[in-house]
């Protein structure tokens, strides 16, 4: 893990975060002034690429295996990583399927939603990803206190996201799940995603508790890494769902 020096790793996390923020702003204004779906898709792909590479460390999957001992922690860690990524591949088919349903049923229209809420929950999730990355970097460099603090912040932001989507957006939306295709699509996409956020929050809570009890060290913290990768995955899904639900196309009443 600790290939990069300490401060470099934190700086990289911050830089990626800034890039993501800029892209999100660009995305929003692109949607407002120049609603071309292709551009929005390209921006989303860039954001997803950044998260997948720098926050989820997908390259770790392809790092050459230098360990020979099959019973060593390093070997099992690599196996676990593969397992987790396979799970995410599988899961992304669910989200992909919902996206197909959305494209098929709504095309170049999107439901009538409160844009400020959308922007706020999106930002909250983005910031939570930043803190999740900070937490992982911290534990990898043995900074336990920073790790605990960042995990706690991530957890709180995660809950805030859920409150934003379920507690606010679902309540103020001018339509219910039974109101036409846009209702069905909106509630199912946000619902499936929220369910994943919810499981991610449970995962975070477990990591936080075990972190407080000192279960993780800078060498052994697979639990934290798995939680982080999962959390970023949920973020990546939202990177696509946000424009799909809020930005692309024109509003249907």
């Amino acid at each position: 893990m600790a290939h990069t020096s300490k401060s470099k790793a934190f700086r990289l996390g911050l830089l990626v975060f800034i890039a993501l923020v800029v892209l999100t702003v660009v995305e929003f204004f692109l949607a407002v002034y120049l609603n071309v779906w292709l551009l929005l898709v390209i921006v989303a792909l860039c954001k997803a690429g950044l998260v997948i590479y720098y926050y989820m460390h997908v390259y770790r999957l392809f790092q050459a295996d230098t360990t020979l001992d099959r019973n060593s922690y390093a070997y099992k860690l690599a196996t676990n990583r593969l397992g987790l990524w396979l799970f995410l591949v599988s899961d992304s088919f669910v989200f992909g399927g919902l996206m197909v349903a959305r494209i098929n049923l709504l095309g170049l229209t999107h439901p009538h939603l409160e844009q400020t809420v959308g922007l706020i929950v999106t930002s909250v999730l983005l910031v939570s990803s930043f803190f999740m990355n900070r937490a992982e970097t911290a534990i990898a460099h043995g900074k336990r206190n920073q790790f605990v603090a960042s995990t706690a912040i991530t957890l709180i932001l995660g809950i805030a996201f859920l409150v934003g989507v379920i507690g606010v957006e679902w309540r103020i939306a001018p339509f219910g799940p039974a109101d036409g295709a846009h209702g069905a699509v909106f509630y199912s996409m946000t619902g499936f995603h929220a369910f994943h956020v919810f499981t991610g929050i449970i995962f975070l809570a477990i990591v936080l508790r075990n972190g407080l009890r000192g279960c993780y060290s800078s060498e052994r913290h697979w639990g934290v890494e798995a939680c982080a990768v999962y959390w970023h995955f949920v973020d990546v899904v939202w990177i696509f769902y946000y424009p799909a639900l809020y930005l692309i196309g024109t509003v249907i009443e």
Binding site: L68, R70, Y75, A78, T79, L82, G83, L86, F87, V89, S90, D91, F93, V94, G97, L98, V100, A101, N104, L105, P177, A178, G180, A181, H182, G183, A184, V185, Y187, S188, I206, R209, N210, R213, C215, G223
Partner: protein, 611 residues
Amino acid sequence: MKVILSLGLIRGLLWQLLGTALGIGFFTLVRALLGLPSWEAEPAIVVGALFGALFFLLGVGVLNDWLKWAAGEPTEDHVDDSHLGWRRYFGPSLDHKVIGVQYLVLSLVLMSVGGLFALLFRTELAQVQMQFLSLDQYNTLMSLHGMVMIISILMGIAAFMNYLVPLLIGAHDMAFPRLNAFSFWIAVPSAIILLSSLALGGFDTGWTGYPPLSVRAPIGIQMFLLGVSLSGFSSILGGLNIIATIVRMRARSMTPFRMPIFVWSSLATSIISLTATQLIGLSFQMVMLQRLFGMSFFDATKGGNPILFQHLFWFYSHPAVYIFVLPGLGIISELLPVFVRKPLFGYRWIAMSSLGIALVGFLVWGHHMFTSGMAEYLRVPFMYSTLLVAVPTGIKFFSWLATAWQGKISFETPMLFILAGIVVFLLGGLSGPPHAVVSTNLHLHDSYFVVGHFHNAMYGGFVFPFFAAIFYWYPKITGKRLSETLGKIQFWLMAPSFVIMSLLMMRIGLLGMRRRIADYEPAFGFEPYHLIMTIMAFLTALGVVVFFINVIYTQLKGQPVTGNVWNSRSPEWQVPSPMPVHNYERELIVVGEPYDYGSPGSRYVKFVGEA
């Protein structure tokens, strides 16, 4: 009594009962507290079934280690439960061999249940007009037959992938043993939920569950949709485990092109089940949501699209048919060289053709929808892609022929089933292109020709290779060999009668017999055919009964055999049967090609420290 209660399975079932009751009660209570009319059957039962499944898992105890991890407690890595004897087959064992046998038993149980349903509705079909089933009963039995059989296949391939893959690659277990146990045990409550639809009014949609019909069906359909969604997790997580095992757990010297061929087909199958399975779960859950919350995904009057369901459904269910057959074809490729005493012809081509079938299989789903009213311009591209699958499948057939050519062929029971598998799958495969060509499909779609096609494909690609595998590996699993005489009786009961039945299915299908009908027009003159088909179905079933007798007889009377029964080169036969608890005591080293039969003195594997 104490022993019985110590069995994970029994505990799980009791807990499931409890969980279902709790779930229903909980839901009703919440509604009452919210001031809603407290009783509404459908959501209450769905919540109950979900609770039931969760409680089953808790009761069995497969979640214990994960709960410990979450609590930050350490867990044992190499659990040895062999002291439990037969009882470990009824509990959450982590040993891949035990789990393989558990899958095998579940598969056979489900096959018997599904087959029994088939016998019931076939009896009804023997004559025109309804004799002893009502229309709704027929539809329910027919639909359940389809899905129960399909889940039985999924369990059957999981059985052999679980048992064999670690042995064939020289691993001591799967990559994720707990996940493996979970994959198996989630299937048990799912199967129970699926079958419980019988008690809740059944459903009449066929195994495909197309809306809007499935949105209007009785409550039973919720159990069908939920049971299938849950058992999907078994497939998904099982596939994940197999891929990780193959990638990470191979003996160090086993390069990809020296893996036994069955491992290649398991890999191809697992890629499909890992990814595509999510879509059947999703499409079924969307129907559940539409029923429960009125979300109008598929309701055209409210902006939905019924065709969307078919796309999502077939995106899984077409690749799924290759999930069913790839392991079976792998077994054929694996066993053929043993009984022919010749190397497998074109090993690399066969290995790659499995991947080819799996990947092209993702691009063809639209061939089930040629008449559905989907976008017109999609029909021709789907025809091309579908026909393309014939190419890698052909490679397998021709390579098998070349393998058998100039061999020294012997005809033990496994070989007989292999041969039946090849011929029957050929019938199934060759009836594929007429479906795949759009204009002939317009006549064939939803006729008994389709029914004949897929029974052939499934019997040839799964059922017969499955029995071959059971006969072949039975000594490895139990240390006893199944009776050859009874095996041959079973074969001659099953194979010819099945072929006759399926050919008659195709015949009447071409003449205009629709599928999924409880009764048919006397004017078409199908009655004699149906009568013969019913008789043939009973003969096939008798063959299965003989198989069960064989198992019981062998367990009671069979002599122990521990050696290399089939004189095979495969690693698992180089150690005594039954397989030791932790598989190979010494690490395995690959020193040659897997199928170099007929080259004296050559070996495939040896063990560390062996000359």
